[in-house]
């Protein structure tokens, strides 16, 4: 029998599975269409010769059971939250409640065409309106757009609204945005698309951005300060109030990347500490699944005076009816077609309704407790660059292990063999060899203890048999993959 506190990774039977194109056999098919009830039209009769497809798309010819087996085998090569702890820092890999999936699949939601007249889509509009109100209350801001499809999309939307606000307020958009060095890469990338130059600001010696540093960079060319709070070191930017005053004083706005909102749910609200615009990742804080890289959803919350710039349409309430409003002359326009990743909005709405105010606060409490617990238990084995109370995540490094020739990547890969997904590695960039660990509230104490056991075992292996770590991982379907070769010798289909 396996003891409760040993690490969970072990071997299992996995199957080889080729590409579908190598399974194709002429004449097979996996979907039957209903018979036509009208006369079949010869395409050559109604379409011009030059427009007709010369050769069919070479899609595989496979039957339904082959398709099911193919993708089932592929799925078994994946790690997932449902199989184990996924401590990726700043990714908030929490449990995705199954009820959310069922709700998004209700035919009244799943089969609803986006161009259905408003009066025949009242349930969907009401859900969107309510979700906006929930997110406004949670963020402490006034208005929300649900349109952006992901966090980075929300950033671009928010920065474009900042730009529109400056044009209206100062007659010009200004030219620069201040971004801490610990920020996600999407922050500077989004600013660049919106036409801003990025001015980096260093995190202070304790990992926190200092007001004096921002004050020094602040001038009337700075449109805003873009901050992640808590930051990617897992630390609350405790000078944020003072910094917001400095930025506002000089006519700028404060943008908050809400990737780490999970840590402060019900404990503090960005609108209360001076944030003017923020995006919220529903696929992090609000439990919607990552799906191997999306779809996500990145609503943007703003202070009232930025509301005129929200993308169209917005949902408005009139008595007990709801409608989509397009007539907003100051709007930045549209970020994507239709109204947002509605199916993701349904899931987030269901999550907030499942938890209520108390449940959301509990989420933050346990997420922060779990991270601090891991920090206390791991800091004697791994270098902890910022030894202070953390929020939802902690950052360790490979400093102690380097003398044995072991680096962060090796530690990450060895964790896989012991049954855990690795933490986020080599990020934030301001910490050399970073291992960024976010346990979330979903993990039980036993699982956290198992994770600690695994990390401690690895720390010991670094001393005793460092070469073994270079060979990790050995248990998954593939061993360490050659990424350099993939980039040099491109095979993309």
């Amino acid at each position: 029998m396996t003891a409760k506190n040993s690490t969970p990774g072990t071997r299992g039977l996995v199957f080889r599975e080729p590409l579908l194109r190598d399974l194709s056999t002429e004449g097979r098919r996996g979907l039957d269409l209903p018979p036509l009830e009208v006369d079949e039209v010869d395409p050559g009769e109604v379409l011009p010769e030059w427009a007709l497809r010369r050769a069919p798309a070479e899609l595989p010819e496979v039957s339904e059971p082959e398709v099911v087996r193919h993708f089932t085998r592929l799925s078994q090569w994946n790690y997932s939250i449902d199989t184990g702890m996924y401590p990726l820092g700043s990714c908030t890999m929490k449990y995705n409640p199954r009820v959310n999936e069922a709700m998004a699949r209700l035919p009244g939601f799943a089969d609803l065409h986006p161009r259905t007249p408003d009066r025949l889509a009242q349930g969907a509009l009401e859900l969107m309106y309510e979700l906006e109100r929930f997110l406004a209350e949670i963020s402490g801001l006034d208005r929300v757009t649900l349109q952006p499809a992901a966090g980075a999309h929300g950033e671009l939307c928010g920065v474009l609204m900042m730009r529109a606000w400056h044009l209206r307020t100062h007659g010009r958009p200004r030219t620069k945005v201040i971004v801490p060095e610990s920020a996600h890469g999407t922050n500077p990338a989004s600013c660049a698309i919106a036409g801003y130059r990025v001015v980096p600001v260093k995190n202070g010696p304790d990992g926190i951005v200092e007001p004096a540093q921002v004050a020094e960079l602040m001038d009337d060319e700075v449109a805003g300060f873009m901050v992640t709070c808590p930051n990617t070191l897992g630390l609350f930017e405790r000078h944020i109030g003072e910094i917001a005053e400095i930025v506002h004083e000089a006519g700028g706005l404060v943008y908050m990347d809400g990737a780490n909102l999970n840590a402060i749910l019900g404990e503090a609200r960005p609108g209360d500490f001076g944030v003017d615009v923020m995006h919220i990742n529903l696929h992090k804080t609000f439990s919607t699944p990552h799906g191997g890289g999306g779809p996500g959803s990145g609503p943007v919350a703003v202070r009232e005076d930025l509301a005129p710039f929200l993308p169209v349409p917005v949902v408005v309430q009139e008595g007990d009816r709801y409608r989509l409003e397009y007539d907003r002359p100051d709007s930045i326009g549209k970020m994507r077609s239709f109204y947002g990743n509605f199916g993701v909005l349904v899931r987030a709405h269901a999550y907030i309704r499942s938890l209520g105010a108390e449940g959301l606060k509990r989420v933050a409490e346990i997420a922060v407790l779990n991270a601090n617990y891991l920090k206390e238990r791991l800091k004697e084995h791994f270098h902890l660059p910022f030894d202070q109370p953390c929020m939802h995540e902690l950052v360790l490094t490979d400093k102690h292990q380097q003398s044995f020739g072991v680096k962060t990547l090796d530690i990450a890969k060895r964790l896989i063999d012991l049954g855990f997904h690795p933490p986020t590695v080599y990020f934030p960039l301001v910490v050399s060899g970073a291992l960024m660990i976010e346990p979330t509230e979903s993990e039980s104490k036993e699982t956290l203890d198992q994770f600690v056991d695994a990390m401690v075992q690895i720390a010991e292996e670094c001393r005793a048999e460092p070469e073994r770590l270079k060979e990790a991982p050995r248990r998954p379907v593939r061993q360490r993959l050659d990424e350099t070769r993939a980039a040099r010798n491109l095979v993309l289909r």
Partner: protein, 453 residues
């Protein structure tokens, strides 16, 4: 709280390890004046039973799903299989993160690799990415990419036909407003197709991109040969949008006409309508432009043991490495929807795709012929169409007509007047393979009865 395992006893034990007295002390790192001292004002927590009941009530209020529907205009109802949902709802796909650790993400990575291959086959292109949010934002990315790919060789300007989906054009304008790239829209010509003369004139000054859609917003197949000529004249890239890629079961793909970038809406491939999203943008280009392409890409390689495997590659284009110099800010994309589309295309296969396209063409042609025989209506444009077409109501204003049909539980299509004032008396009628003969006949007789003053 059913989603959180921690018990009070465990919390006490963990607090002791951390060295604080109570949970709220953990939040002392937040300045006192910013601590929220009241509960959030939200409705009370619901059990799963209550939640399901409430949400079902909301879903029932979307009565439109019960109506006979001829809505399209960028989102289409098609036949799909329960197999898709059974597979994408598997935990290992659904609850996995972006495949940054390839050894434990081979399932997702191989699926992306296969998706990229299918997209290339479908669009007639050489290389595709792992997906973008949707066709509209993908088209904006394509315009930014064209400028990047041709840097210093072409004018910072894209010329867009007005027959491109109005929402796609609006998103392009929003994205490009601060890029320094000018957007020029060429008004729709006679017959509901691109005005090639005016487009030619517009590109004479040069452009980094020429943007057309086929079938266009009015459902008409555009002459992509002319579009290719215009792009060449402009010294720019030909960018083609496809809102209804089922059409490519019959139509020569944009790649066959020399398109440089193709963006398509993948919703038609097994993805529910879901009130507008999540959908999936297909994005493809030529090999020579791959380093200018936005978004993630999966590539084949080998592992330590020499076995073939897959990784995310060309990351040096992306935001997490290049930050403000990246080819896009995109990070999370639409992976699970891309997986759904991959499964759908595998089920359909080579013959199925062509068959479903033929069915759409046959159904829509039947309807087009029936409507053009009706008093009070005409089909104003002669150009070849696939599964949707424009109808003009000669006597009854379109808004009134559509409302009368709604009273008969029919959604007859999307009015065009808001986006094209000169087509105020017209609407777009869509017929896919999912329309039954009886619904089609019901629409025809309803139009017959309601189409006169």
């Amino acid at each position: 709280m059913r989603f959180i395992p921690a018990t009070d006893a465990e919390i006490r034990e963990m607090l002791a390890t951390v060295g604080v007295e109570q949970v709220s002390d953990l939040f002392d790192v937040i300045p006192d004046q910013f601590r929220l001292r009241r509960p959030l004002s939200l409705p009370r927590a619901l059990s799963e039973w209550e939640l399901t009941r409430d949400m079902a009530g909301l879903a029932r209020r979307n009565e439109g799903v019960e109506y006979a529907s001829f809505l399209g205009a960028g989102a289409y109802r098609h036949v799909s299989s329960v197999v898709i949902d059974a597979l994408i709802a598997r935990s290992e796909f659904l609850t996995a993160y972006t495949p940054y650790q390839p050894e434990v993400s081979q399932g997702t990575l191989q699926a992306i690799f296969e998706f990229q291959g299918f997209v290339c086959e479908l669009l007639g292109m050489e290389v595709a990415n792992a997906s973008v949010y949707d066709a509209a934002s993908g088209l904006a990315e394509a315009c930014l990419m064209a400028d990047r790919a041709l840097r210093r060789k072409a004018r910072k300007r894209v010329v867009v036909s007005e027959t491109v989906h109005p929402e796609y054009r609006r998103v392009v304008s929003t994205y490009l407003e601060h890029s320094g790239i000018e957007v020029e829209v060429v008004p729709v010509g006679e017959g509901g197709v691109t005005d090639w003369e005016r487009l030619s004139a517009a590109v004479a000054r040069g452009a980094s991109g020429v943007v057309v859609q086929s079938p266009n917003y009015f459902g008409i197949v555009e002459d992509l040969r002319r579009a290719r000529e215009a792009a060449t004249e402009a010294g720019g890239l030909l960018i083609v949008a496809v809102a209804e890629p089922v059409s490519l079961g019959l139509l020569e793909p944009p790649g066959g006409f020399g398109a440089d970038i193709v963006v398509a809406e993948g919703q038609s491939f097994g993805i529910p309508l879901s009130f507008g999203g999540p959908y999936v943008g297909l994005f493809a280009t030529r090999d020579r432009y791959v380093r200018s392409m936005p978004g993630r890409v999966a590539g084949a390689t080998v592992d330590r043991a020499g076995e073939t495997g897959f990784v995310l590659t060309l990351a040096t284009r992306e935001q997490h490495i290049r930050r403000e110099k990246a080819t896009s800010n995109i990070c999370t994309n639409q992976a699970l929807c891309a997986l759904a589309a991959t499964i759908h295309l595998a089920l359909l296969g080579k013959r199925g795709l062509e068959q479903v396209a033929r069915q759409n063409l046959s159904q829509a042609t039947w309807m087009k012929r029936a409507v053009s025989r009706l008093e009070g209506f005409e089909v104003p444009f002669e150009g070849p169409t696939f599964n949707e077409f424009v109808v003009r109501s000669r006597e009854v204003p379109v808004a009134d007509l559509l409302e009368r049909l709604e009273a008969r539980r029919i959604l007859a299509g999307v009015p065009l007047g808001t986006d094209y004032p000169h087509l105020e008396d017209c609407w777009l009628l869509t017929v896919t393979e999912t329309a039954t003969r009886s619904d089609m006949e019901r629409l025809v007789s309803a139009l017959e009865e309601e189409g006169r003053k």
